[in-house]
């Protein structure tokens, strides 16, 4: 048989129906639902008199709209509250399981899926959210969908998809000291461009990926969408299997071993052909900082803000000029001279326990700079608890960072956590679009240690030179 890529194996296993000149009908193993992109889908079901086909494969939570202040303080935004209530009512009406604001399992949808063991290798995973690509880190085909497709999956447990192409991004060699998974994915996006992945599913391979923990792999797959890719994925290995073992909703005992044996067969076959291959020398990577208004506008901590005139493509000159104007930056400013007003550690990119540990190591025994307001927002209630058991919350609080309740927080400017116009933020989130974190806000994307170090210093610093306690 012709050698297959992991994506092809996963695709073939989920084909319900293939007809000429039509998108393939694929079966969906896990549907994650949140409050923002679902109300109109449930409305559609109601109007058509349809049911949710598989409530057992549907998991709902609230994350985008929820304030990250303490749970005893109510949601004060009336429109947000209405949307949160809508999900609660829809879950009741359609018989779905909901992890509400007060649930011990609540959290960012892409954090709780893997965390609770719902996300397992070999599954097809969808959610009305572009960062569903995160789940690919466990060896899933995981894609973000629109609300009409949410309705389609609720009603049919399938999705119509045109088969994407395959792209291998191979990271050769080991990552140098101080270079984080976030730096890897920002470097990849800088290299292939924010439209470089359009029409492809990316499989990340190579030594640097194999030696990476699951939290880091999720960071990388999370931002596949920022490269324009349909999905990102990483072949399951023993690291993956050990991660899933004993998770709350994962199979147990003999059933787990049977499943794990199947998961081990998912890797791309030797000699499998990808439509495109990109090779990256991991040993040359450095801590990354974005300077512009999309994630591809990125350089290294040792670099400078580029001069728009240095680009050859007129469209790039135009967008770099506009970006620097929006960001309030002058060409050739050293990145390490950029001063910050805010620091945000969190979001589905970087709010897992490894991220919080890495940030805590940096700030331990130090104080946040007087000009900076910094906050740490764990990705889920479980991670919050775990971090508190490890004493990370105390490290953050003693250093002067705010320790919050789980949610999407300041990633997207939808809940009370936002930047004010002109404020500059070092953020571990995934998008630095104009106004993403609040109207007029200026976002620089970085890794958790880089964000933490910037909170202490008041400007960007090279984490490779950091004086750890």
């Amino acid at each position: 048989m012709k050698p297959q890529t992991m994506f092809e194996k996963l695709w073939n296993k989920h084909v319900v129906l293939e007809e000429p000149d039509q998108p393939t009908v694929l079966y969906i193993d896990l549907h994650l639902v949140h409050e923002v992109t679902s109300p109109q889908a449930f409305d559609g079901l109601r109007i058509a008199g349809r049911q949710v086909r598989r409530p057992d494969l549907t998991v709902c939570t609230v994350d985008h709209n929820t304030p990250t202040w303490e749970l005893d303080k109510p949601v004060t935004d009336e429109i947000s509250k209405k949307q949160l209530d809508a999900l609660e009512n829809n879950c009741k009406e359609f018989g779905l399981n909901l992890f509400d604001r007060f649930s011990e399992f609540q959290g960012i949808v892409h954090v709780i899926g893997p965390d609770l063991g719902y996300t397992q290798p070999g599954k097809t995973v969808v959610c009305g959210d572009s960062h569903t690509s995160t789940h690919g880190a466990l060896g899933c085909f995981a894609i973000g969908i629109g609300t009409s497709e949410v309705e389609h999956v609720l009603a049919t447990q399938t999705l119509r998809q045109f088969k994407p192409g395959t792209m291998e991004i191979r990271l050769e060699g080991d990552l140098p000291f101080g270079v984080e998974p976030k730096d890897v994915i920002l470097a990849i996006i800088g290299q292939i461009g924010i439209g470089g992945g359009i029409g492809y599913v990316i499989e990340y391979t190579g030594e640097a990926i194999r030696s990476m923990g699951m939290d880091g792999r999720m960071t990388i797959c999370n931002m596949s969408i920022e490269a324009g890719a349909r999905a990102g994925m990483i072949a399951p290995d023993e690291t993956t299997i050990e991660y899933v073992r004993n998770r709350r909703f994962a199979p147990k005992g003999e059933a787990f071993e049977t499943a794990a044996a199947e998961w081990r067969k998912l890797s791309s076959d030797p000699g499998a052909q990808y439509d495109k291959v990109v090779i990256i020398d991991a040993t040359k990577l450095e801590p990354a900082v974005t300077w512009g208004t999309n994630p591809g506008m990125v350089t290294n901590i040792s670099g400078v803000v580029p001069d728009p005139k240095s680009f050859t493509d007129p469209a790039q000159v135009e967008s770099a000029t506009r970006a620097l104007d929006y960001m309030g930056l002058d060409p050739n400013t050293p990145i390490s001279d950029i001063k910050l007003d805010r620091v945000f550690v969190g979001a589905c990119t970087n709010s897992r326990i490894d991220d919080l540990r890495a940030a805590a190591r940096v700030v331990k025994g130090k104080k946040v700079h007087d000009d900076v307001y910094a906050m740490v927002v764990p990705g889920s209630a479980i991670i919050k608890k775990q971090a508190e058991n490890e004493g990370l919350d105390k490290i953050f609080i003693e250093a002067g960072l705010d320790w919050r309740v789980a949610g999407c927080s300041m990633c997207l400017g939808m809940n009370p956590d936002t930047l004010s116009p002109g404020e500059r933020c070092a953020s571990t989130s995934n998008r630095n679009f104009e106004g993403r974190q609040g109207k007029g806000g200026r976002t620089h994307l970085v890794s958790p240690p880089m964000a933490a170090a910037a909170a202490i210093a008041g400007h960007f610093v090279d984490i490779r030179d950091w004086d750890y306690e």
Binding site: V16, L17, D21, Q22, P23, V25, Y27, V36, T37, P39, Q40, D43, A48, R53, H64, N65, I79, S80, K82, Q83, A86, G128, D129, S130, G144, I145, G146, T147, S148, E149, E151, H152, A155, T156, Q157, T158, R160, F162, P164, I194, G195, I198, G199, I225, G228, R230, N294, A315, E318, S319, R322, L412, G413, M414, R431, F433, E434, G435, R436, K439
Partner: protein, 198 residues
């Protein structure tokens, strides 16, 4: 879904690449639970000043373009968030066709679910359309989906376009995907029986 076949409207050029869905409609306007009413928030951050008044420099606030129904932009149009509120906002404003050299996958797909036509045209043609529509706020384009052709009043621009035949069929007939898929109920049941429930 409203069928799409022949469509003639004034062109609104936004000469930028990578127009993301956060610009098309910022997250703060996604809190509503309805499908309509997003038109007034279309491009809100570019369209309105701090005090809520209209930004005269932005094209949607200029005579001629204000009544436009075909939006033209640069490469990778609709990148970023999966929010279907982006096509809802365009639709609600009265824009049912977006032209660009390339589109982000999810936005592209979301358009078809809402009776919008995302039209891929070669870069030089898009540049020409942007040039002509920038010069003339009443520059019209005509789209015929059946024959897969686009042309302007003077027929200085007249060009064919590619589109997947299944999507074309659904758009012309205003077909709902769910209904189509549910016709395959026996296949879904068979899949579940063989793969899941044993």
């Amino acid at each position: 879904m409203k069928p799409f076949n022949q469509y003639s409207r004034t062109v609104i050029p936004i000469d930028r690449v990578n127009i993301d869905t956060d610009q098309i409609i910022p997250a703060v306007y996604l809190k509503r639970i309805e499908r309509d009413g997003y038109g007034e928030f279309l491009f809100a951050r570019w369209r309105y000043n701090e005090d809520g008044s209209e930004n005269e420099d932005f094209i949607l606030n200029q005579d001629g373009y204000r009544e436009g129904g075909i939006l033209v932009g640069g490469n990778n149009f609709g990148c970023g968030s999966s929010r279907e509120h982006a096509p809802w906002a365009l639709n609600d404003f009265g824009i049912r066709c977006v032209i660009a050299p390339s589109f982000a996958d999810i936005f592209y797909n979301n358009c078809f679910q809402n009776g919008l036509l995302p039209l891929k045209l070669p870069e030089d043609v898009v540049a020409k359309i942007i040039e002509k529509s920038t010069e003339n706020p009443n520059f019209n384009l005509h789209v015929d989906l059946e024959s897969q052709r686009v042309w302007d009043d003077e027929e200085e621009i007249t060009v064919g376009f590619d589109i997947d035949q299944f999507r074309k069929h659904c758009l012309i007939n205003g077909l709902d995907d769910i209904g189509l898929t549910l016709e395959n109920e026996k296949h879904i049941q068979a899949y579940e029986k063989s793969k899941l429930d044993n």
